[in-house]
């Protein structure tokens, strides 16, 4: 594996008699989305502030590209830290400045760019983040979501290589939470920066993260992929993940990935050898086109509508569903074989083409700011599994079988 971009070695931080971080060791890799999870007040923000140099450790070392920050010369350290940008939990926008002035501030103060060049860059960022109409407004005049976008625009205007997000979704409703996470994922792909998030939005944050770091009892107790976290056996899982996850996913009304696995395991235990189950994988295609044309919130609302529709249809006949990736849903039908599922899917398709896809569109339209025409398609694939096999391979098999089951065209929308 490539050397880490940022590494903590035995970092300890105390505030008076209270120890917040105790011999923390972690690695963050370039180009990835890394999320630090943990309960409120567990020291996540303190950890983040150490990365950007707002706080200094009492003990231990922080390495940037293998070199300790403490041994770097002043210019070298300044150059390293200049690659960072930070988005605060409460945005920290300057309330006496307009949105435009807030975004332009780092360019005006830290570069020698001409006014026209600054204007060009700020305008471009505002357009990318759908803030053009808010340029002359003050932060207090904006909605929570727009304030987040303004803070993100300010964080990205200097083209940073590493962006730190402190609780980017705090205080947002479920649709906006996912819209913000989706926005971060989109811009991370687009601009290629390394993203470090602090969040307790479990499991939503898994969909956009390459790596998860779990902060528990003043130390990092887990580092790995979201999939590896599913198999992590530690009190952290019971005390933190379970408490945050809730019974059903807030956004779609579906089960979380872990609860989905637990349910599947229970079904599997009740089955006798030879009995089979079926899996259906649904994908909302052209998600990026919806985001680009209608915005993140509209895309998330469309996904929510799709999840609700799938759950309503298959839940009634004993199926249970989860959201697997940003735009992908998986449904398990425990007592149905392939022939039965094909028949059920046919009914679903008939119903879906008649009403479902319009419902998804209507959901998206509610949150959309424009009347732009967007075509999108829903894919579905089915596969049959045996209790002895791994469900992941059955899901992959269903994914390979996917074909288009419905498409919304601009001419039939009205």
């Amino acid at each position: 594996m490539e050397p880490p971009l940022i590494e903590f070695k035995d970092v300890t931080k105390r505030f008076g008699l209270r120890t917040v971080l105790e011999r923390v060791n972690l690695q963050i890799y370039e180009g990835q989305v890394t999320t630090i999870i943990g309960l409120s007040g567990s020291g996540k923000s303190v950890l983040l502030k150490h990365i950007i140099g707002l706080l200094k450790p009492d003990e231990g070392t922080i390495l940037f590209k293998g070199k300790p920050l403490t041994t770097m010369k002043k210019n070298e350290k300044a150059a390293s830290l200049a690659q960072f940008s930070y988005m605060f939990q409460d945005n920290a926008l300057f309330d006496s400045m307009t949105v435009y002035e807030n975004i332009a501030l780092p360019l005006r103060e830290t570069t020698n760019l001409k006014k026209a060049e600054i204007d060009l860059r700020v305008t471009a960022r505002m357009e990318q983040l759908e803030l053009s109409d808010a340029a002359n407004k003050y932060p207090s005049e904006l909605s929570g979501g727009m304030q987040k976008r303004a803070a993100l625009a300010r964080a990205l205007v200097t083209d940073p290589k590493i962006v730190l997000f402190d609780e980017p979704t705090s205080g947002q409703d479920p649709v906006r939470k996912n819209a913000i996470l989706s926005m971060i994922a989109k811009y991370q792909r687009k601009f290629g920066f390394t993203a470090i998030l602090v969040s307790h939005e479990i499991p939503d944050v898994y969909f956009i993260s390459n790596r998860i770091l779990a902060l528990y009892d003043q130390a990092i107790v887990f580092q790995g992929t979201p999939e590896e976290l599913e198999n992590f056996d530690h009190p952290f899982k019971d005390e933190v993940i379970l408490s945050l996850e809730g019974l059903q996913e807030e956004l779609t009304g579906l089960y979380s990935k872990r609860q989905f696995k637990v349910l599947h395991h229970l079904q599997w235990k009740q089955k006798t050898p030879g009995e089979s189950y079926s899996v259906v994988v649904f994908t909302l295609e052209e998600m990026d086109a919806i985001i680009t044309s209608l915005g993140h919130e509209a895309a998330q609302e469309a996904l929510r509508s799709m999840g609700v529709y799938i759950d309503k249809h298959f839940g009634a006949i004993g199926g249970f569903s989860t959201r697997r990736h940003t735009n992908e849903f998986v449904t398990v039908l425990p007592d149905s074989d392939l022939t039965e599922v094909e028949s059920m899917l046919k009914d679903f398709i008939d119903d879906f083409q008649g009403q479902g896809i319009r419902g998804i569109w209507a959901g998206g339209r509610k949150q959309a700011a424009s009347e732009v025409c967007v075509e999108f398609a829903i894919l579905a694939g089915i596969a049959q599994g045996q209790p002895i096999g791994e469900i992941d391979s059955v899901i992959n098999s269903a994914k390979h079988q996917q074909k288009e089951i419905a498409r919304l065209r601009c001419d039939v929308r009205r």
Partner: protein, 282 residues
Amino acid sequence: MALNTDSQGLSKGEARWPLVTLLTRPFAAIGRAAIRWISNLGASAVFLFLAILNIVRPKQGPKIIQQIYFIGAKSSMIIMLVGLSTGMVMGLQFYRALVKVGAEGAMGTLVALSLVREMGPMLTAIMIAARAGSAITAEIGIQRISEQIDALETMRIDPLRYLISPRIAASIISFPLLTALFDLIGMIGGYISGVLLLGANSGTYLHRVQVSMEMEDVTEGFIKAIVFAVIVSTVCCYQGYFVHMRTDSHGAKAVGLSTTSAVVLSCVLIMVADYVLTSLLI
């Protein structure tokens, strides 16, 4: 340094010698207060030094002009009002006192010298501390508690350069100018009450004002104004900038208390500095 404490919150030494503890506790409190005061004094000196170093940096001009507008131009009305009333009161009082000894001709001298040497710099500084100083503390304090100052640091913008230096520079420029305005309006106030209302001789008043004032009187007034500018701007900026370090309160309450402390401390230091400067310059 962490204290070794027992379950009742007393150190081992305190538990063993309660009478000694009782007797030494007031001295310990005085010592702690003295250490805290000296620490704050040292920290404010470093704060001021770094802020002054950052005044002559690129891109500071527009920010300094903006602050001159806020601290200076927007304070001019209140300075004129206070200057006029002070001058008029002085005209009344001096005329009544001097007429008893038949020296009402010296009224112009007394009004002019009192204003230029003492009342002008001191009252101007107190008025600006109350109007602009409190606003500076509150503004910087809110920026601190809402993480706007931390945001500046993450953007690699030095908060001292961006927030503090322009305010100190603007104060150093504005205070002498406002003091001059106060002096002028005060002398007009003395003329209105002494000459126009009480009937003192107009020519004598104006002549005395002109001949009794020397350049060193004006210089003394301006030196005081500059010293007061440094005191007021440093105290007000420092109280706002370190509002999060207060141990007695947090958040909005801390901003309120810091604003009060800034104005009270500025006024006390102005008076102390006025006495020291007068004794040195006289």
